[in-house]
C-alpha cells in the first residue's frame, strides 16, 4: 500500500517532476515515462502537479520546458531525475533561477549513475527510480529558499615558502599589481634549488637561472619579503585571513645593514653548515647561507656565538661600518591581512641512514644526492671537485643507487619522480669531471617528460653502465683480493639473471623526497589535510591539483607531492592564476551549506565546540550559548548531528530534509509491484 507515507495532509507546494531519458542512457534501463506518470498520479497529494519525461533535460529545450512550467503552472519546487548532481546541479538551478524560482528549491536526483548504469533489471530499476524521485519530492518540500553567502576578497596574498614554486607564485601575483607577503623560514629565499649545481636535462647552472628570480622577488615593490620568519597562526576564512607571523631576530638591523659581508669575514667562529652545505662545509656564526642570498642581510647563530655564550667577542660589531649589529634585537610578532594563501612549503629529503644496508653514515664514501650536489657545485666546499670524503682522492669507479627510500614498502611506497633523472645527471657529471667508470643501479628507468629520455640516451652513449636490480647491500668487507680497499655493491642483475658484486670507490644514494617533518602541523594550521603519505591533498587529483578543500588556500610545488623544477614552476604559476582570479572577482559567493545554532534552544553544553576542526563555533561566556561563524563553517554538519538539544540546524541538509528523504525513499519496497 503506497499512500502518502503516513503524512496524509495535502501540501500547498506545487512541484514539477522532470525525468530525463539521457538518450538511452537512462531510458534504456528505466521506464522513464512510467516514472513521470507515476509521480504525477501517485505523488499528487504530495504536491506534484506535473510529471514530464524528455530526451535530454540538460539541453536548452529541456531547460526551457522546466522554465515554462515554472512560469505557466506556478511551480514552487522542482525535482529533476537525471544524472549526478555533481554534473548538472548547477544547470538546473540556473534554469530555475532564470524562471524566477530560488535555485535552492530545485533538487536533482541521480537515476543514471545510481540506477540505469548500475542495474540491469528494468522493473527493479524503474521501481528504484520511482523511490528515488519520491525521496527527492519529500526532500524538496522541506527546502528553503537560500542566498549564497557573499564575502569580500582582500587583494593581498600570503605565499609560504620561498623555494622556486613560491617565488614563481609571488612574482606572478606581484607583477599583476597586488601585494604579496612571501614568508620563508630560512635566512634566504631560494629553497633546495639554490643548493644544486646543474639542473636536468638541460644542465643549466641552477644558480644562474634561479638567482635572477630571487633578486626580482627581493626587489619587487609589491613583494614584502619576510625571511627568517614563520607563520604562527591563521585566523579567518577565504578573502579575509588574518595571519600571525613571527619574524625571528637576526640580530642585525636591516635598516642599517648594507650587506657588505665584513661581519662574516671578521667573525672568528666557524661551525659545520648542516643546512646549506649538507654538513660538508663550514659557515661563520654571523652568516648568509650563500653569496647570492636574498635578502643580503646576514643572520646571527645565537647558539654558537661566543658573545652569547661567554659575554665577550663582539668582533662583528666592532668591524661593522654602519653599526648594524644589534645584540638586543628581539623576535617581532605581527599580523597581516590577506585574501588568499599559497602554500609552497616544499619537501624534506629521505634520511639515508634508515636504509642501514647501504651504509650511509657508517661507510664514509657513501654520499647522499644532496651531498653530491654540494660536491659538484663550483661554489661548494670542494670548489666543484668530485672527491672522496678525505677531500683529495678522485674516485675511479662510482656507483649510483636509484630509488633509495622510494618505491620501497619498508620506507615510502611512492615514486619520488626526480631520482632517476637526478641519478642520470650525477652519472653525466662524474663521467665528465673525473672520467670514472659509472654504474647506475635502477629498478625501472623513469624518464617521462620533455627531453628527459633523450638525456637518458645521451648518458647511455657516454658509456655509463646500467644494472637493473635493487641493490642488496653496500659493504666494505672484501671477499676477493680485487675488492680490497673498495666499497662493494652487492646486487642482483635482473637482466643478466645473476648476482653481481661490483667494487667502486664512491657510492651516491639517489634519495627520495618526503613531506616536511612538520607537514601535519602546517596542514592543521591552514586547515588542509595530508594524504596517507603526508603530502597536502589537492581539491581534485586531476582537475584541480592546485586548490585545496579549504577555500582560499592553494598549494604549489613539492608540498603537494614530489615533482621536478618545471612542474613546480608550472604549479606555482597556476596557483597564482587562481589567486588572481579570486582577487579580481572582488567578492565571492559561498555555497550556503552552513550550520547555525538557535540561540534560544542552545543549552550551552559545549558538546559541539570540540567537534569543529575549523574553529567555527565560538562560545559566548556571558550568555552561555554557542554560536557558529557562517564564514568559517564548512558545512560538514557534524555539530548538527551531535547537538543533544537539537538546537543546531544545517541549511540544505537539515534533519527534516534527510528524514523526509528517507521516508520518501522507503515509499516503495524493493520488489514491490508498480501500480499507477
Amino acid at each position: 500500500m503506497t499512500q502518502d507515507n503516513g503524512n496524509s495532509q495535502d501540501v500547498q507546494e506545487r512541484i514539477g517532476v522532470y525525468v530525463c531519458h539521457c538518450g538511452t542512457n537512462i531510458a534504456g534501463t528505466v521506464d522513464v515515462q512510467q516514472v513521470a506518470e507515476w509521480a504525477a498520479t501517485r505523488l499528487k497529494r504530495r504536491g506534484v502537479v506535473i510529471g514530464r519525461d524528455y530526451k535530454f533535460m540538460c539541453s536548452s529545450l529541456g531547460q526551457e520546458l522546466i522554465e515554462n512550467d515554472i512560469k505557466e503552472l506556478g511551480l514552487t519546487r522542482v525535482v529533476v531525475a537525471a544524472c549526478s548532481p555533481h554534473l548538472h546541479e548547477a544547470t538546473f538551478r540556473n534554469a530555475c533561477q532564470r524562471a524566477g524560482l530560488n535555485p535552492y528549491l530545485c533538487e536533482l536526483v541521480s537515476i543514471r549513475e545510481q540506477v540505469s548504469w548500475v542495474h540491469t533489471d528494468k522493473v527493479a530499476a524503474t521501481v528504484k527510480s520511482q523511490a528515488v524521485v519520491s525521496g527527492g519530492v519529500e526532500r524538496v518540500l522541506r527546502h528553503e529558499p537560500l542566498e549564497p553567502l557573499r564575502v569580500p576578497i582582500h587583494p593581498a596574498t600570503l605565499v609560504v615558502g620561498g623555494g622556486i614554486a613560491g617565488i614563481q607564485s609571488a612574482l606572478e601575483i606581484a607583477d599583476a599589481g597586488y601585494r604579496v607577503y612571501l614568508v620563508e623560514r630560512e635566512p634566504s629565499i631560494g629553497g633546495h634549488m639554490a643548493q644544486f649545481d646543474k639542473t636536468f636535462p638541460t644542465l643549466d647552472c641552477s644558480a644562474c637561472i634561479l638567482t635572477p628570480r630571487m633578486v626580482q622577488a627581493g626587489a619587487h615593490p609589491n613583494i614584502t619579503l619576510l625571511t627568517y620568519s614563520e607563520v604562527e597562526k591563521v585566523d579567518g576564512y577565504v578573502g579575509n585571513f588574518v595571519v600571525t607571523i613571527r619574524k625571528k631576530a637576526r640580530k642585525i638591523n636591516e635598516e642599517l645593514c648594507t650587506g657588505c659581508g665584513i661581519c662574516q669575514e671578521k667573525c672568528p667562529v666557524k661551525v659545520i653548515d648542516d643546512v646549506y652545505e649538507a654538513g660538508l662545509g663550514y659557515r661563520k656564526v654571523v652568516y648568509t647561507p650563500f653569496p647570492q642570498a636574498v635578502p643580503k642581510f646576514p643572520v646571527m647563530d645565537v647558539e654558537n656565538c661566543t658573545y652569547f655564550k661567554k659575554g665577550t667577542c663582539k668582533a662583528c660589531e666592532k668591524f661593522c661600518p654602519t653599526n648594524a649589529i644589534d645584540f638586543n634585537q628581539q623576535d617581532e610578532v605581527f599580523s597581516v591581512e590577506v585574501g588568499n594563501i599559497v602554500l609552497a612549503t616544499g619537501y624534506d629529503l629521505f634520511d639515508a641512514r634508515r636504509v642501514t644496508n647501504y651504509g650511509y653514515g657508517r661507510l664514509p664514501n657513501v654520499f647522499t644526492s644532496l651531498e653530491f650536489e654540494r660536491l659538484s657545485n663550483a661554489a661548494g666546499p670542494t670548489n666543484g671537485s668530485i672527491v672522496l670524503r678525505d677531500g683529495k682522492t678522485v674516485p675511479k669507479a662510482v656507483g649510483i643507487i636509484h630509488c633509495v627510500g622510494s618505491r620501497d614498502r619498508n620506507f615510502n611506497n611512492y615514486c619520488s619522480t626526480i631520482c632517476c633523472m637526478q641519478g642520470l645527471k650525477f652519472a653525466h657529471l662524474v663521467h665528465e669531471r673525473t672520467g670514472a667508470t659509472v654504474y647506475n643501479f635502477y629498478i625501472d628507468m623513469r624518464t617521462a617528460y620533455k627531453a628527459y629520455d633523450e638525456f637518458y640516451q645521451r648518458v647511455l652513449e657516454e658509456g655509463t653502465l646500467f644494472v637493473r636490480g635493487k641493490v642488496a647491500e653496500v659493504t666494505d668487507v672484501p671477499r676477493i683480493k680485487d675488492e680490497e680497499g673498495h666499497l662493494i655493491i652487492q646486487c642482483e642483475d635482473t637482466l643478466a639473471g645473476k648476482q653481481r658484486r661490483i667494487p667502486v670507490d664512491m657510492v651516491i644514494l639517489s634519495i627520495g623526497l618526503q613531506p616536511r617533518a612538520d607537514a601535519k602541523e602546517t596542514a592543521k594550521k591552514f586547515g588542509l589535510s595530508c594524504s596517507a603519505d603526508g603530502w597536502f591533498i589537492e581539491k581534485h587529483p586531476k582537475l584541480d591539483p592546485v586548490a585545496t578543500m579549504t577555500e582560499g588556500v592553494y598549494i604549489a610545488g613539492c608540498a603537494q607531492g614530489p615533482k621536478d623544477i618545471p612542474s613546480s614552476v608550472a604549479q606555482g604559476a597556476a596557483a597564482a592564476a587562481r589567486v588572481l582570479g579570486k582577487i579580481q572577482q572582488r567578492e565571492m559567493a559561498l555555497e550556503p551549506v552552513r550550520a547555525s545554532i538557535n540561540q534560544d534552544q542552545c543549552s550551552g553544553c559545549r558538546i559541539c565546540n570540540n567537534l569543529c576542526p575549523f574553529n567555527a563555533i565560538l562560545f559566548h561566556d556571558d550568555r552561555m550559548v554557542s554560536e557558529i561563524n557562517p564564514a568559517l563553517c564548512q558545512g560538514c554538519g557534524t555539530c548538527v548531528a551531535a547537538c543533544p538539544a537539537g538546537a543546531i540546524s544545517g541549511t540544505a541538509f537539515s534533519n527534516e530534509q534527510i528524514m523526509a528523504q528517507i521516508e520518501g525513499l522507503m515509499l516503495l519496497n524493493v520488489g514491490e509491484e508498480i501500480t499507477l
Partner: protein, 161 residues
Amino acid sequence: MSDESFEPTVIGFTCNWCSYRAADLAGTARVKYPPNIRLIRLMCSGRLDPTFVLKAFSSGADGVLITGCHPGECHYLEQNYKALRRFHLLRRTLQGLGLEPERVKLVWASAAEGVKLAHEIASFVEEIRALGPLHWGGNGSNQSSVISGQSTAHAFKEVPA
C-alpha cells in the same frame, strides 16, 4: 514471507566528497550492483545523526550502509573519525534495542573506489538477505508498530559482540 522471495531494502548514506563520487564512478564505469540500495547524499559521514539510521529502520529498511572517506582523508579533516565513534555506539545501542548490529555497516570508500563501493554494496545486500527481513515499522500502515514478534525473536538470536 518466505526467505526466497525476500528482497532487502537498504539505505546507504554517502559522503558528498568520496563515496557519493565513488557511486558516480561505479555508474560511469558501468559496474553492476543489486538495485536493493538507495543512496542519500550527506556532506560528510560526520553529518550522520544516528537517528537517521533508526528512522530508516522504522520506515522499513532492512539494513543501513554508512560510507565515508578513508581515515586521514576526510574532506573536513577528521569528521569521519567522529562518524566512526558514533557508529560503534550506534551498534551497541541497536543491540540493546534488540536489533542485529550487523544491519548497520560502515565502509570507507574514496572517490576513486567505485568498484570497491559496488562490491561492498553487493556483499552488504547479501548479508542483509541472510539476516532476513527486519519488519520494524515498515511503510504506511505499519508505521506505528514497534518491534514485531519476528524482530524480537531476532534479538534473542546469537548476536556477536
